[in-house]
């Protein structure tokens, strides 16, 4: 290696967007297995307690579930659009779209708060007297409901933290129209949250 080649190599900042995205996907597969395990538990118990699952699901509010579905689908779109805006060099619009995404995440969480509050108010929460008096299948249904939607909502909160971090980095000039893999990876995480909800919604809210 000549001295000029060496100097060029030293000044080149190491960067691998492709590897970065591939790493993010690998992480998302671990998330698939995490939620997948819970979906398998759900499937087996539903198979064993079909009638009780149907009965327990009547307690959930389909309208709230539907509003949350629409909120997540729309936020997924705005997250994807923020990448397009970034690629086009429109940083202002990209930031605005990220704020809209965060806004929908809050709509989701506020809804979830009211939903859980109503359940707890009616005495339906893990370990409560009212719940333990119900048949096994209903106890299992509500146990899975709290664990799965709870873990999912935790992912919504993490997604919001990622996006706030991204907004800060755009402001600092660390994310630009030709360097935006972190925005892409945060959006990938957000889409996973949406994907999981696509399955949670019919499995918990739409059993009639």
């Amino acid at each position: 290696m000549s001295s000029t080649d060496h100097a060029a190599a030293v000044h080149q900042v190491h960067r691998d967007d492709y590897g970065s995205r591939l790493g993010m996907w690998l992480f998302l597969f671990t998330e698939l297995i995490l939620f997948g395990g819970l979906f398998i538990v759900y499937a087996v118990y539903r198979f064993m307690h079909q009638q009780e699952f149907h009965l327990a699901a009547q307690e959930l509010n389909t309208t709230i579930g539907l509003i949350n579905t629409i909120a997540l689908l729309t936020s997924s779109m705005t997250a994807a659009m923020s990448i397009t805006a970034m690629q086009k060099g429109n940083l202002r619009f990209s930031k605005w779209l990220i704020w809209v995404t965060i806004g929908f995440a809050f709509v989701f969480m506020v809804n979830k708060y009211f939903e859980w509050s109503a359940k707890i108010h009616h005495g339906i929460f893990p370990g409560s007297k009212d719940l333990l008096a119900k048949p096994d299948g209903e106890i299992l249904y509500f146990g899975l409901y709290y664990v799965m939607t709870g873990l999912h909502t935790f992912h919504v909160i993490v997604g919001v933290i990622f996006f706030l971090f991204i907004l800060r980095q755009i402001k600092q000039g660390k994310i630009t129209s030709d360097r935006y893999v972190r925005l892409e990876n945060s959006a990938l995480y957000w889409h996973l949250v949406d994907l999981i909800w696509i399955f949670l919604f019919p499995l918990f809210y739409l059993i009639h």
Binding site: R21, G36, G37, F39, V44, L73, A79, E184, I198, L206
Partner: protein, 98 residues
């Protein structure tokens, strides 16, 4: 400049995203409507089938899987294959154990 840099340039227009979003909303509407009709065990089959279609659109367009290289697709198929082994073997076990 890295050899993979050229892939970054794929830009999906806003209009395409709105189109996909409208499709996803339509599928959600169909799921909710179908759930109101009593189809017995078919209700869950239809609901999951529609959820899979929605996921396919989210994966390919929102998550750009359509525009990624083959290795990404092999990865995701491997992950799904692993998941279905877990699911399949669990049910296989249950159908004999009971």
């Amino acid at each position: 400049m890295s050899e993979h840099q050229h892939q970054e340039s794929h830009v999906i227009e806003y209009g395409n995203y709105i189109f996909i979003w409208l499709g996803l909303l339509a599928f959600t509407g169909i799921t909710v409507t179908v759930s109101g009709i009593n189809l017995g065990n078919w209700t869950i089959v239809i609901a999951l089938f529609i959820a899979c279609i929605k996921s396919w659109y989210v994966l390919n367009y929102f998550m750009h899987m359509k525009y990624e290289e083959m290795v990404f697709k092999i990865f995701i198929l491997t992950a799904l294959f692993t998941f279905f082994i877990f699911l399949g073997f669990t049910f296989w076990d249950y159908s004999f154990a009971r």
